[in-house]
């Protein structure tokens, strides 16, 4: 009993030492979702544009974002302004990091949206058209709800990856959870903080899977 209690106290003290890092990781996670989900929809529209130049431009954007490491993108966005315009890098790296995450994840979400939108049969648009529903109305009320249901499993995948990707922020951010775990592990010569960090990611993703599963279930009222 005492031993079990000891383990929990130990984990507790680890977490409290990492608390600043945890807050930053959560912040990166939440802000990335908040901005990349809507931005992804805009990118998807650009990618599906009737205008060849626009669609090519967004296709290129997506291919670069998906084709290069997120860590590289984080570094470029942080240091880029300095090398290009000699603007000294921001003191707080958090905002450039979030911008990099948002730009990167928007590209992935855009392709998921595009797949979903293109999977809706033409008949849905035609039925709405004949009924006189406007194009924005058709998209928001008829198409998008069906798209969301279809893309939910793919979005869940991305969100889970995002939870783990937040560890990449340590390249610029000392107060990042995984980095702090590493620091404590080196200082105290134990692997335990890394296991605690692993447990944190795992439990967080369990929660993500649970919440997304609930949403999926809620949308299961039709096929």
């Amino acid at each position: 009993m005492e031993q079990v209690l000891g383990v929990f106290t130990y984990i507790g003290s680890m977490l409290s030492q990492m608390s600043e890092g945890i807050v930053n990781s959560l912040l990166i996670f939440a802000m990335t979702l908040l901005f990349s989900l809507p931005l992804g929809l805009l990118v998807a529209f650009g990618r599906m544009s009737r205008f060849k130049t626009v669609s090519l431009l967004f296709k290129f954007y997506i291919s670069v974002m998906r084709g290069t490491p997120l860590m590289l993108q984080i570094i470029l966005i942080y240091f880029g302004p300095y090398y290009l315009f000699r603007i000294s890098p921001a003191q707080d790296a958090l905002i450039p990091i979030i911008i990099a995450f948002v730009l990167n994840y928007a590209a992935y979400f855009a392709e998921i949206y595009r797949g979903g939108i293109e999977s809706i049969v033409k008949g849905q648009y035609e039925a709405a058209n004949v009924l006189g529903l406007s194009k924005p109305h058709t998209f928001i009320r008829i198409i998008l709800p069906q798209v969301i249901k279809r893309i939910l499993p793919a979005v869940t995948n991305e969100v889970i990856t995002l939870v783990k990707d937040t560890s990449l922020a340590q390249i610029l951010l000392h107060e990042e959870m995984f980095n702090l775990a590493n620091v404590i592990a080196a200082r105290e010569c134990t692997i335990a903080p890394l296991l605690v960090a692993g447990l944190f990611y795992y439990l967080f993703n369990l929660l993500v899977a649970f919440v997304m599963g609930r949403i999926e279930k809620k949308l299961n009222y039709y096929q």
């Binding site: 049969v121 008949g123 849905q124 035609e126 039925a127 709405a128 058209n129 004949v130 009924l131 006189g132 529903l133 109305h137 009320r141 008829i142 709800p145 069906q146 249901k149 009222y221 039709y222 096929q223």
Partner: protein, 254 residues
Amino acid sequence: MNLLEVRHLQKAFGDNAVLRDISFEVHQGSVVAIIGPSGSGKSTLLRCMTMLETADSGEIDYGKLRMLRPLGNGRSAYADKATLKEIKKQFGLVFQNFNLFPHMSVLSNLIEAPVHVLGIKKDEAIAYARELLEKVGLSDKEAAYPCELSGGQQQRVAIARALAMKPNILFFDEPTSALDPELTGEILKVIRALAEENMTMVIVTHEMKFAHDVSDHVIFMDGGVIIEQGDPREVIDNPQNKRTQAFLSRITEA
């Protein structure tokens, strides 16, 4: 009075001329059946009249509203957006594949357009939707979702959805073709009932007996042209043209 007049309508997909000089009229209260082999242009004609396809040239008038008018140089021009919007309120279309909105209940399917396009108050739209559901025999299904209904029931909902917009003309694009044979009867029954109420309808169909019994006017199309049109007792029972005769004998043999 003519609710719809189509004159010299032409439509090609690339080099493939699908409609070649189509002319006909639809009188108020009449039921027009369009028959013919597949690929004859029947569905394209319906899609041109309902603005799902853009015609190349010719003339389409909905009463006083001119949808497509000839420019005099062999081309035609569509009316301005406001007029086209007004024309869209004139007709309804029932699709072969129903195309109900799967994420909405039956009742929501019926009131979505009346509320948001016609600006009818929600409770009035619901009251009228319930009236229509009773008419098509689905009063107990207003809370159901399309996936919970049989094909025949879905198509009856689709008919009710089109009627909810109070159209002057109702178009049907092969309304029974996607249904199991034993389910076609319930759709034809609904259309028959509408005909008895003098609903103006244009029906693309393969159901020859139905076309014969219900329509006032039959149009036989083949190869993008109207080969023969007139009273069903003449066109179907006593066709003059060889192509009509060949088509009808193929159908009755099968």
